[in-house]
Symmetry: C2
Subunit: 241 residues, 2 copies
């Protein structure tokens, strides 16, 4: 797709949450093509749920560039699939992403078997490199530097009647000031979806930022509802040149 | 574009705010093609600002449908342009939209002359029908049924460092419960952008809902920052069949 001014943030780049959204859309479209998309799984009361995601980029996609996301399945077993992505913007390879998806039973919300789709295992492509570390194992922010309340509303809710994955990314990055994104750029972002949140849930968004000698910022965030962790993330931001 | 599950709301439709976003994107892409896009105007310290928008649809675009938005300029003078849209989803014409855009001087934030782009007037197409009423003139919600506070954060800020147009739509529709969208569907939406809002502004979102004998809901909303009206809207929702 071509990145339009209307999609861009104050830094005239595609916002990280929108990059995550594009990654998720590439995955869902590819699953549709392979015959294991939401409509295929729905026939057996199943759905794909994103469990973890990480992306690492040399820079974010910029306004008016053409963004191309290529996806492939690295690995596939009864319960989950590992799907990787290459991100090319303006003709330049700018980074990679890794995701882990779990198939669940829509009624029980428990992991379901995707055995009936096992011929898909043949589509796995484990020799294509994805030179970034797997999604990190994250922990709750022990001593939050700040925590704020947020109530999930209509625009936060997705197709499965849960809070939208990209919306978590926005909420977490909203812990920083606009000026931080003028001076720094997101290099790597890891997110771990623990439990679903729903309409009208009252969330606490916790965050803790540390800075190293090179000016690199590391922000750990968590979102909690009713004292249960829902989502964790780590964002690495480096100073812009 | 093809409407992907990841873009859809709980009703498995494209959310009204995303339809507005797609309308704005169609307008900006068309302006780029005509040589009066953001980059062209920027060379003379000018920018397009959306002043008013209305859409009216028989239904919203649904998941997996292909959405096609056609745009044309109805009218064009020194200071503003009227741009219309036809919305086709899943091969079916589902509605129309009307927008009014003003060119402003980026430094003074005052209306600017787009005379140097006047050859564009030749592209106006005033004989193509757009069978919906112009964007309504709206008034502030006199006695708000509810008002809630919202602080604008990083993800709300656009390219011009103002609050994103689609974000206002979300905020306003967020005045309703998720269940209202299960029983009702947005038929018409009018929005009037009065004054810009910025990062860290503390907004008050006011709303008032009335219901007629047919179960049609009319919601008037306003967004105020520091006692100055920023945006007004009216949403008409009819019961689903």
């Amino acid at each position: 797709m071509n990145i339009c001014a209307a999609q861009c943030n104050a830094q005239r780049e595609l916002p990280p949450a929108q990059l995550v959204q594009q990654i998720i859309e590439a995955a869902t479209e590819h699953a549709d093509i392979l015959g294991c998309g939401f409509r295929d799984l729905q026939t057996t009361h199943m759905a794909w749920v994103l469990s973890r995601l990480a992306f690492e980029v040399s820079r974010l996609p910029r306004v008016l560039e053409e963004l191309r996301i290529t996806t492939w399945i690295e690995n596939f077993n009864r319960h989950f699939s590992q799907r990787n992505f290459e991100i090319v913007s303006g003709g330049e390879p700018i980074g990679y992403a890794r995701t882990i998806w779990i198939a669940i039973d829509i009624d029980t919300r428990r992991p379901a078997s995707i055995e009936r789709f096992t011929d898909l295992a043949a589509t796995a492509c484990d020799d294509r490199p994805c030179p970034i570390a797997p999604p990190a194992k994250l922990r709750a922010v022990a001593e939050p530097g700040s925590a704020r309340e947020y109530i999930f509303r209509v625009s936060d809710i997705d197709f499965n009647r849960h809070v939208n994955s990209a919306r978590y990314v926005e909420l977490m990055l909203n812990s920083l000031a606009l000026e931080t994104f003028d001076t720094h750029t997101v290099k790597r972002f890891d997110i771990d979806f623990k439990h679903e949140a729903h309409f009208a849930d009252v969330a606490e968004v916790g965050s803790k930022v540390t800075e190293d000698d090179n000016g690199t910022l590391t922000m750990d965030c968590d979102i909690t509802v009713a004292e249960t962790l829902r989502t964790l993330s780590r964002t690495i931001l480096t100073p812009r040149k």
